[in-house]
Amino acid sequence: MAKTQEMVVVGCGRLGSLLASHLSNAGHNVVIVDAREAAFDQLSAEFSGFTVVGDATEMGVLEQSRIHRADCLLAVTDQDNINLMVAQVARTMFEVSTVIARVYDPTREAIYKEFGIDTISPTQLSADALLNILHQSPLVMP
């Protein structure tokens, strides 16, 4: 990911604002979308990208976020279904090459993985990490 990329981040919560700030600092052109304008207060002072206020499940809002030019879209709102829908729209309707959705519910994640949507499940990652630590502790697990 050396050269400058066009990126869209959907959801400006803790994760979205962190990602957008990092990517913007790394020299990428970032557009961040959130339904609440106040959410953008969490962006770092150095963030030099664009902000779009609106519901990303609305086609008009995605179009405003320059999705047709995007190389990458990260769907990280706090709602699984919004992330899954936006990710599929980005890939199918706008042919964005790299699309990743955050999905909390591991069963839903498994289904969408099956049909080729790249997903990250914080629940699954935390569980794996915790179990991993427990495995290394002789007191808890054999």
Partner: protein, 220 residues
């Protein structure tokens, strides 16, 4: 037929009632607990309280055996995911989704939902028909909206009155049937049109305004 409906409020209730009256085996999923209780008292149906896009909830609702799933919540993303999970995980053969943003209609179709409808668009069309064309009734889109079907009533000053069908210059439209004083006439090229005739007109989606112009004159 086994039907699963995901939704709330009056829409879910009255639609549920309608399905039960038709003898369908209905399961209703609603996200509000009090509403689930109330509906379970009012309807002869299984009512579940939960998130209809969650695989476990759909499984409880009997999705493996369902013939149709209708997703009618106010959130487009929830309707989409419910339909996709039903289809891909549980093999529900027919999924129907309500979209609130009309632009999402094309998106949902592309993403595999069997039938997609937009209340906004249907209401918009209805209002347009009522206000624009006073002598034209029931502009029904068929064949996925590519073809329109309408009934028009000829007025004394309609340009088509006194003309025979073959002289009408209709483009991408035909008169399928003439109803004269309650009797159906099969139209022929030399059929003469009269005031009060009711015509069933079939036209291509983009061509109906021009066709009505020919038959009825200025219709605005």
């Amino acid at each position: 037929m086994r039907v699963i409906v995901i939704g709330q409020d009056k829409l879910a209730y009255f639609l549920g009632k309608h399905f039960v009256a038709k003898g369908y085996a209905l399961t209703l999923i609603t996200s509000r607990h009090e509403e689930a209780l109330a509906l379970s008292h009012k309807l002869q149906a299984s009512v579940l309280h939960g998130d209809g896009s969650e695989p476990a909830v759909l499984e409880d609702a009997g999705a493996y055996r369902a013939d149709v799933l209708l997703a009618l919540t106010g959130q487009d993303e929830d309707n989409l995911v419910a339909c996709q999970v039903a289809q891909k995980r549980f093999g529900v053969p027919r999924t129907i989704a309500l979209v609130n943003d009309p632009a999402n209609q094309a998106v949902f179709k592309r993403l595999g939902v069997s039938v997609v409808f937009s209340a906004t668009e249907i209401l918009g069309q209805l209002i347009e028909q009522q206000t624009d064309y006073k002598d034209i009734k029931a502009l029904v889109p068929v064949a996925d909206g590519d073809v329109h079907l309408a009934e028009v009533t000829l007025q004394f000053d309609s340009p088509a009155v006194g003309q025979s069908l073959k002289d009408l210059n209709l483009q991408a439209a035909i008169i399928a049937c003439i109803v004269r004083q309650g009797t159906v006439m099969i139209p022929k090229g030399d059929s003469q049109l009269q005031e009060g005739d009711r015509l069933i007109v079939i036209s291509q989606a983009g061509a109906y305004e021009a066709a009505y112009q020919v038959i009825m004159g200025d219709i605005s």
